[in-house]
């Protein structure tokens, strides 16, 4: 990478600003000061210095420890969701990430976690009349893989499987919704079924399922996975993807979270909750 010709050199004041920019950032006043200097030299040197700083940062990271598994799962789900949206976008979108339509998800800080009282307070506000399910016929094409609804029915028929009715809260998205869960403690498999839950825009928010394990701290229920409710769906059955082993499922809950879900829910939008047994 040889230099191709004489370059203009930044003066010391400009260099100090550029170095501060790539090490700790500039105040608005400093940024204005930099903006009035020679923009061509400044931007070129800024990229140089930023590259050197980033290379030092990589060298100084050595062999870094892996990211925590729960955080990685949340980020990966968020990116998968974004990637799927990109792949499904019309060709006119140019295959580029729609940066303006993707929101950053926020992993709720642990300090924001509340006691389980919040969950049960939400449950206390439920519409209690849960009157039967609108069951869709199970139709299977010859040779097709079983649908989630069929897998749910099969799991329900297996010995030891639990069926838990969840009650919808007063959350607007849950108005009139009916929710149940089938959970098999032995295989750690389960399905959640929703009727009448408001369709969601996956780029704005997603539903997330939670499992309260009697053997774990109740402030941190196990993440059961995120899912979407498409428009015009009479019934949605989704597999539960527990991110950790569940030793004694005591309750299930569904919340609305940012795309990709969160590691710890802030519990601002609980849409359904139900105790096992």
């Amino acid at each position: 990478m040889a230099e191709t010709g004489p370059q203009k050199q930044p003066d010391e004041a400009m260099l100090d600003l550029l170095i501060k920019q790539v090490t700790e950032g500039l105040s608005p006043e400093e940024q204005r000061e930099l903006d009035v200097l020679d923009n061509e030299i400044a931007s070129a040197y800024s990229r140089d210095l930023e590259h050197a700083a980033a290379a030092i940062a990589v060298a100084g990271s050595g062999d870094p420890a892996p990211m925590p598994a729960a955080l990685r799962s949340a980020i990966e789900a968020q990116l998968q969701s974004a990637a799927a949206a990109t792949a499904a976008a019309p060709s006119g979108a140019g295959g580029r990430a729609p940066s303006s339509t993707v929101r950053t998800i926020g992993v709720a800080p642990r300090a924001r976690s509340r006691s389980t009282a919040g969950w049960w307070a939400a449950a206390a506000c439920l519409v209690l009349a849960v009157l039967g399910w609108l069951r869709s016929p199970l139709v299977q094409r010859p040779g097709a893989a079983p649908t989630p609804a069929q897998q749910r029915a099969a799991l329900l028929a297996s010995p030891g499987a639990l069926e838990i009715q969840l009650e919808a809260t007063a959350e607007p998205a849950a108005a009139g919704a009916k929710v149940d869960v089938v959970w098999d403690p032995r295989s750690q498999r389960g399905f959640a079924r929703f009727v009448g839950l408001k369709p969601n825009d996956p780029l704005q928010h997603q539903y997330q399922l939670w499992i309260f394990d009697g053997d774990r701290d109740q402030r941190y229920p196990v993440d059961g996975g995120v899912f979407n409710v498409p428009a015009n769906a009479d019934q949605v059955v989704v597999p539960i993807r527990a991110q950790l082993p569940v030793h004694a499922a005591k309750a299930f809950a569904v919340t609305i979270e940012q795309p990709g879900g969160v590691v710890v829910s802030g519990r601002e939008h609980v849409v359904a909750i139900g105790k096992a047994g």
Binding site: D16, E24, R47, L49, A52, G60, P68, A83, G95, G106
Partner: protein, 187 residues
């Protein structure tokens, strides 16, 4: 035609590339986020923002102009610096006992290290100890120049001078030029 890189495949929406991206850069991003944020929850939020930034910028990666890891670190540092500026009124971010924990890559014995990071590691070995020290404190621990001056009991002007000369020397030893730098992540 050379195969697409992980970043290019991620930009095109390949779901398998997302997992590879997390495998390849998750530790690096987490390491940078932990060093340059105040709390674990800050680091979690930052890591998520960084990966979204990487996803948005992935199509701009050009392997002929630098390594993917340094590209990712550039994006990560921009986001972290932006967050640091917004939180600049908050208390200092890192316990002093963590300052000795930098594990410098050995360019000769770390096969997976990016070539430009290996160049940077070699360049650092050429610096005067005090230049290297202020760069470590600033770039790897996220201390401001004022904080470094206070910590090392040095005049601020001395810290600025050491940092300026040190970083310019690294740039020179890495043979980065204005021409070659032209294709890195744009703002």
């Amino acid at each position: 035609m050379s195969p697409l890189t992980v970043l290019q495949r991620m930009a095109s929406g390949d779901p398998a590339a997302v997992r590879e991206c997390m495998d390849r850069y998750g530790g690096l991003v987490w390491s940078l986020a932990r060093r340059l944020t105040r709390t674990a929850s800050d680091a979690e939020d930052a890591a998520q923002e960084i990966f979204l930034d990487i996803w948005r910028s992935a199509a701009r990666f050009d392997a002929s102009r630098g390594s993917d890891k340094v590209f990712v670190a550039t994006i990560a540092r921009r986001r972290l610096i932006d967050r640091m500026r917004k939180k600049s009124g908050e208390p200092p971010m890192e316990p002093p006992e963590a300052l000795e924990s930098i594990a410098w890559s050995d360019p000769a014995n770390t096969p997976d290290i990016a070539i430009d990071a290996a160049q940077a590691a070699r360049a650092l070995e050429e610096l005067r100890p005090e230049q290297r020290q202020v760069l470590e404190l600033g770039l790897l621990h996220g201390f401001s120049q004022s904080e470094i001056a206070s910590r090392l009991s040095m005049p601020l002007g001395t810290v600025k001078s050491l940092m300026r000369r040190g970083l310019l020397r690294v740039r020179e030893l890495m043979n980065i030029t204005v021409e070659s730098a032209a294709g890195r992540p744009d703002g």
